[in-house]
Amino acid sequence: MSTRFLDCGDTAFSVEFGSTIAPEINSRVMALHGAIASERAAGRLEGLVETVPSMRALLVHYDPLTTTRAALQPAIETLLAGERAAEARSRRLTLPCCYDEPEFALDLADVAQRTGVSEEEVIQLHLASEFHVYMVGFMPGLPYLVGLAKPLHLPRRASPRVRVPARSVAIATEMSVVYPFESPGGWHLLGRTPVSMFDTRRGAEASTLAPGDTVRFRRISRAEYDALEAEAERAPFDIARFVEARP
């Protein structure tokens, strides 16, 4: 599918790279998002307000009092023509996750039964998955993590829960998510992380993850979970402690 520019009124347009969830499509979204950020850092693309990456498209917000669609689109097309692989500026993070039943892993038994593997294998498959943050949305800080091991792919639950606790780690289709806040939700709950996905005490750095990040989970005991949760209550985590140092 070729790249399409789609009209979104007079303050935004969408650059759509495809209609499915696929690495070759999302990497182009992230490449353009990064290229535009570099241009703006260099003082170009005046009137461009912000860009919002999603699974398969980049939404470009602009100020029609400063620029026009007719002026911006050719500039974006030029960036697309010079497209290169996304710079390796994304981070690799390892997030602690406690898979204890019954409090956290509410759907572990159900997922095991539906997928035909043991509960321990479900956990091991989740731990073995390398996830990529394709977008952050629906709620502030909610990461859509693509890359779930194939045997765990399941549709969403037939009846969503009215209340999913904050920091629940869940799966559905080819993805895993972490709920930033208590909210309704239809994903299968496998565990809980002591790391908040959106901690307002960090101000502008509130969101733990950003589009383009790579994430793995690390299994922790209930005792370690409790200790980390207590620590987070006193002061927000510095996200750097979950980020792999670059060689």
Binding site: C8, D10, S14, L59, L65, P140
Partner: protein, 346 residues
Amino acid sequence: MSGARLIVERPGLFDTVQDRGRIGFQELGMPTAGAMDRIALALANALAGNAPDANAAALEMSVLGPTLLVEADSVRIGLVGPVEASLIASEGATPKPLLADRSHTLSRGQRLKLGSIVGVTTAYLAVEGGIAVPPFMGSRSTYTRAALGGVEGRKLKQGDALPLARDSASPRAELALAAPFDYGHGPLRVVPGPQADHFTASGHATFTGSEYVVSKEADRMGIRFEGAKIEHSALGPDIVSDGIAPGAIQVPAAGLPIALLADRQTAGGYSKIATIASADLPRTCRLLPGMRVRFQTITVAEAESLRRDQERRLAAAIAALKPARPEGGIDLRALYEENLIDGVVV
């Protein structure tokens, strides 16, 4: 911070602190929030004496406003919108009506009693210097769904204190709008897309050819309309989530349009038939349940042009603010001048 503040003696129905919104964090799923009616916010700030680029935070009031006690030497307010307002000089005193669409200066111990908002959804109370709640991600706008911004991320309740940046009003004459701002009329102008191909020709014809009614499900996040069902094409109602522009009109499987407004999510998975022109967004945000609208399609370039015209008219309205008549009496000079200008003889 000055220590000056307004105390909420009685909250309104849904009072929130709002500025022009939280810009630059949508990639992290952070909705912009911000004032529903950016025109009224701009006029209220201008009346209060705040420069446009100061992005001062004001109080957005819906349906019914609050009663506020002044705990400052004095405070200048800019009140915009069709809201009943009165001043209570001291405890137990008879309320004295205050006019909206102008500035007023209130002094310590006085109470500002705001009542019903008539004919539109919101009215705005700006204060000189702005409401000094701490900013979050560069904005003071309240986003209630994640409990952030404004006063503890929620609507005001009894006993809240709104911190003021100044402890007294600057000495100058009060100002008033020369004329009510013209928000426009007729169909709401929309640009088709981004998922125009998810609808049949008949679906598009239904959308632009029918009258829709604002349902009771209307809030800062969006407005659900009732009316004729819009037919989807074979591509269907659902999409792989993509970003949502302000004023996007999504149409879930039920076929009824939902306009997405200030508190809209940053991305979503329903097909969007069109986007409301930014010049018609303030007008959309003023709609009350039961009101009827039609949609008319225009191009991106036409929508940009409408917006630039509107911004010129807004700047002209701010430049044309005129000295207000002194309260509690007829200002013969102002009345005379007005008659000369309007050519109206009372």
